[in-house]
Amino acid sequence: MSQPQLRKPVECGVPDHMQYLHPTLRKNYGNWKYHDRPRPGVLHHVSHSGEEVWSVRAGTQRQMDVYTIRKLCDIADKYAEGHVRFTIRSNIEFMVADEKKVAPLIAELEKSGFPVGGTGNSVSMIAHTQGWLHCDIPGTDASGVVKSLMDELYEEFIHEEMPNRVRLSTSCCEINCGGQADLAIVIQHTKPPKINHDLVANVCERPSVVARCPVAAIRPAMVNGKPSLEVDEKKCVCCGACFPPCPPMQINDPEHSKLAIWVGGKNSNARIKPQFMKMVAAGLPNNAPRWPEVAAVVKKILRVYKEDARPWERMADWIERIGWPRFFEKTGLPFTKYLIDDWRGSRSNLNASTHIRF
C-alpha cells in the first residue's frame, strides 16, 4: 500500500521580526533616545529623530482562545495600525504614533475586560507554566493559580505604587519552569515517590533514573519478582526528579504536595548583582480552585515590602538593607530550621561575620 506523500518541512527557523514591527518602531529601529510613563500601563518613547510612540500594555490570560485573540486583533486594527507585541510576562502591547489614540484605546481595552497596567512599579502578570491543563508532571495548576492571584493583585497591576517593579512566578513542580522572581510560588513535595512496581521495568530506563537522583537515594531492586527501583526514604529529598523519566514513581500527592513561597530573585544587574530567590515559607495547602492560603502569604509579604522598602529597592535590595531577621519579624513568617541551607555550597549562605542587626 502506498503512503500519501508527506510534505517536507521548510526549515525556515525564526522569521524576520522587521516585517511585523509597528511602522514607527521599524523607522526608528536602534535609534531611541529616552522614555517616560505618562500613566500606569502606558510607555512613551522618544526617538533621536524626534518621533514618538505610545505603548499601551494590558494583561491577558496567556492561555487564550481564538475569540480573545481576534478581539485583541480588532482593537489593534482600530487603534494601533494593526500591530501588537507580547512581553515576556504575556502582557500585550499596542503601539500608537498618535497620542490622541491612547485614551480611547485604553477605554476599549478596559471595556473588553483587559486590565491596563503592568508597567513601572507595578505588580506585573505572573510568569507561569502549564499545570494540570497540559503538563505531564504537574503538582498543581498554573493558569488557575495565576487567575486567582491576579484577581487579588489586580489593583497593584493597574497602579504603580510599589517601591520598584515586582515580578512574580508560579511553578507546578520543583523544576521551577516559572523561573526566578521577586516572589515565586513553587510546589514542594513532602513525601517520597510512591512506586508502582508492576510498571517500572516496562516504562523506565532504570540506570538513567538512578543517575537522575541528586542524593543517590534510588537503587535497582527486585520487587515481587520483578526488576524495579527502590528509594531510600531517609535520604530522599522529595524533589521529584525521578518522576519525569519514570512516571510509575508518582511524586504528586493531593495532600502532601504543598506550596512554598520564595522571595528576592532578581535577574537585573541594577544595584546589587543578580540574586537567586530564597525559600521563606512552605507547607501551604494545594487548595484549588483559588488557593486562599497562598494568596494570604503573598499579599502579606507584598504589603510589608510596599510599606517598608525605599524607592527603587527591589525585594532583594530591601531585604539586603533590613536583614533576614527583620524580614521574618515584619512579615510574621516563622523562621524554621528547614530554611537553613544544607545543600552543596551552603556555607556561603551562612553569616560569616558579626554583622547582626539588633
Partner: protein, 431 residues
C-alpha cells in the same frame, strides 16, 4: 450538535473576578468543539482530585525529531478506555516567535484560523522558553496544522535534548537602553542551529537568550546556557536638558538618595560644576546652575541603575556590544547556577562581529555536545571540569573579569607557573 457540557463547579469559580479568565475562554471554545468540552471535564477532574493526568509519548511531524509535545489522557475507565474521549489526545506544537514577539493582526488571524480548523482553538502567547504554544491537537491533525503554520514562514521550536527556542527583548525596536541588535543576534545564532533544534541529539537542552542591556529583561543570566547581555565600554552619555528637566521634577533629595546613594560602586558623586574632574574617563552633567553629577566610568560596573532612574539624561555609551555568560540554570541536579562571564566584552556592530558571536556559540555547543554527560547542563559540566578546562576547550583566554575573586585555597598543581607567567607577559607585550 455540540456535546453536553460537563459540570465544572471548581472551574466555574475561576470565571469571577477582574482578571481575564482562561476558563471563560475554554468554555467559549467548548460551545462548538467537543474536544474542549472534554478538556474542561478533564481539567475539572484534576481540580477535584488535585492531580495531573497527562502522559507523554511520541508524536511529531515529518522530517523533524522534536518540537511537538505529545499529551495522552490517563483518565481511563474499567475497560481502559478514555473517560474524556474527545480530549484523549491534546498535543502542543511549539512554534518559534519573531524576536521581540512582534506581530501584525494579519498573521495572528491566520494563526487563529489554522488552529480553529485543526486544533483546539487555544493558543498561549508565550511559553517559558518563548514558544507560541498551539495547545490541543489530535495526533492526526498535528501534521496538517504544522504544514499550514510552516507555509506562513514559521517553524517548530525545540524540545528535549536540543538547542531550544530563544527569546530577545524588545531592544532595538523600542528601547533606548539597547546595546546591540538583539533580533539580529537571535536570528544569526538560532537559525544556524536549526539542525540541533529539530533533531535532538545533545546531552541535554541548550538555551540562548538575548538581552539588550544589563537590566536583562529576558532573565538570561539565570535561565540560559549562553546569555548575550548588551553593555558598553566607553563613558556613559549625558544630556543636560533632560538632566535639568529630571532634577526640576524630582529635586535634590531624590537625586542624592535614589541616584548617587544607590550606585553599587560609588562611581557617582555630586559636585560643584567648577570642581568636576576633566579626566577622560569621567562623564558629567549639570543638574542645575551650580551642581553636576560626576561619574567615574572606570569604577562603573554598568549596572544600569542610574540610567534607569534618569533615562535619557544618562545613557549607555557609544562603544557597544555584549557580555557573554555561560552556564545558567535552575536547581536540577546540583543546585542553581548563574551564568558566569566567559567574554567580558564582544563588540557587536558589523556583520563580522555577529559572525564572531556565532563562532563562539558553535564552539560552545560543540564542546558541550562532546563533553557533557547525559542529562548534564552546560553549567554543571563546567562545575565538574572547571572553568579553565572549559575555556581551553572553546579557545578563550582567561580574564580577571571572569571571577569574583581569585582562589581562596592552595589545592592546585602549579608546576608550570613560570611558563604560564611568561606566556601571559608575552601576550601582553604583543597586544
Amino acid at each position: 450538535m455540540a456535546k453536553k457540557q460537563h459540570d465544572t463547579p471548581n472551574l466555574d469559580q475561576l470565571e469571577s473576578g477582574p482578571w481575564p479568565s482562561f476558563v471563560t475562554g475554554l468554555k467559549r471554545l467548548a460551545k462548538d468543539k467537543d474536544g474542549m468540552t472534554d478538556l474542561l471535564g478533564h481539567l475539572e477532574h484534576s481540580y477535584q482530585t488535585r492531580k495531573g493526568y497527562w502522559k507523554g509519548g511520541t508524536v511529531g511531524v515529518f522530517g523533524y525529531g522534536g518540537g511537538v509535545i505529545p499529551r495522552f489522557t490517563e483518565i481511563k475507565d474499567d475497560k481502559e478506555q478514555p473517560v474524556f474521549k474527545d480530549a484523549a489526545e491534546f498535543h502542543t506544537l511549539r512554534i518559534m516567535p519573531p524576536a521581540g514577539m512582534h506581530y501584525n493582526t494579519d498573521i495572528l488571524r491566520k494563526f487563529c484560523d489554522i488552529w480553529d480548523k485543526h486544533g483546539s482553538g487555544l493558543i498561549a502567547f508565550h511559553g517559558q522558553s518563548g514558544d507560541i504554544m498551539f495547545q490541543g491537537c489530535t495526533t492526526e491533525n498535528v501534521q496538517k496544522a504544522f504544514d499550514e503554520i510552516n507555509e506562513l514562514g514559521f517553524d517548530l521550536g525545540g524540545a528535549g535534548p536540543a538547542v531550544r527556542t530563544s527569546m530577545a527583548c524588545v531592544g532595538h525596536a523600542r528601547c533606548e537602553q539597547s546595546c546591540y541588535d538583539e533580533g539580529k543576534g537571535l536570528r544569526t545564532i538560532v537559525n544556524a542551529f536549526l539542525d540541533d533544534i529539530h533533531r535532538p541529539a545533545l546531552p541535554y537542552k541548550f538555551k540562548f537568550k538575548f538581552s539588550g542591556c544589563p537590566n536583562d529583561c529576558m532573565n538570561s543570566i539565570q535561565r540560559s546556557d549562553m546569555a548575550i547581555i548588551g553593555t558598553w565600554r566607553d563613558n556613559i552619555q549625558t544630556d543636560e536638558a533632560l538632566a535639568k528637566k529630571w532634577f526640576a521634577k524630582h529635586g535634590m533629595n531624590e537625586l542624592v538618595n535614589d541616584v548617587v546613594g544607590m550606585c553599587p560602586t560609588r562611581a557617582i558623586q555630586l559636585k560643584e560644576i567648577k570642581a568636576v574632574s576633566k579626566d577622560a574617563a569621567v562623564s558629567s552633567v549639570a543638574v542645575n546652575d551650580t551642581q553636576a553629577l560626576e561619574i567615574n566610568n572606570k569604577d562603573c560596573v554598568r549596572c544600569m541603575h542610574c540610567i534607569n532612574v534618569m533615562t535619557g539624561a544618562l545613557a549607555p555609551g557609544k562603544d557597544r556590544g555584549a557580555t557573554i555568560l555561560v552556564g545558567g540554570k535552575r536547581t536540577l541536579k546540583i543546585g542553581d547556577l548563574m551564568g558566569t562571564v566567559v567574554v567580558p566584552f564582544m563588540k557587536l556592530k558589523t556583520d563580522e562581529d555577529y559572525e564572531a558571536l556565532l563562532d563562539l556559540a558553535k564552539r560552545t555547543v560543540d564542546f558541550f555536545a562532546e563533553n557533557a554527560l547525559e542529562h548534564e547542563r552546560t553549567g554543571e559540566m563546567i562545575e565538574r571540569i572547571g572553568l579553565v578546562n572549559f575555556l581551553e576547550g572553546i579557545e578563550v583566554e582567561v580574564d580577571p573579569s571572569m571571577i569574583s575573586n581569585p582562589r581562596t585555597n592552595p589545592y592546585v598543581r602549579m608546576d608550570d607557573w613560570d611558563e604560564e607567567v611568561a606566556r601571559v607577559k608575552a601576550k601582553q607585550a604583543a597586544a
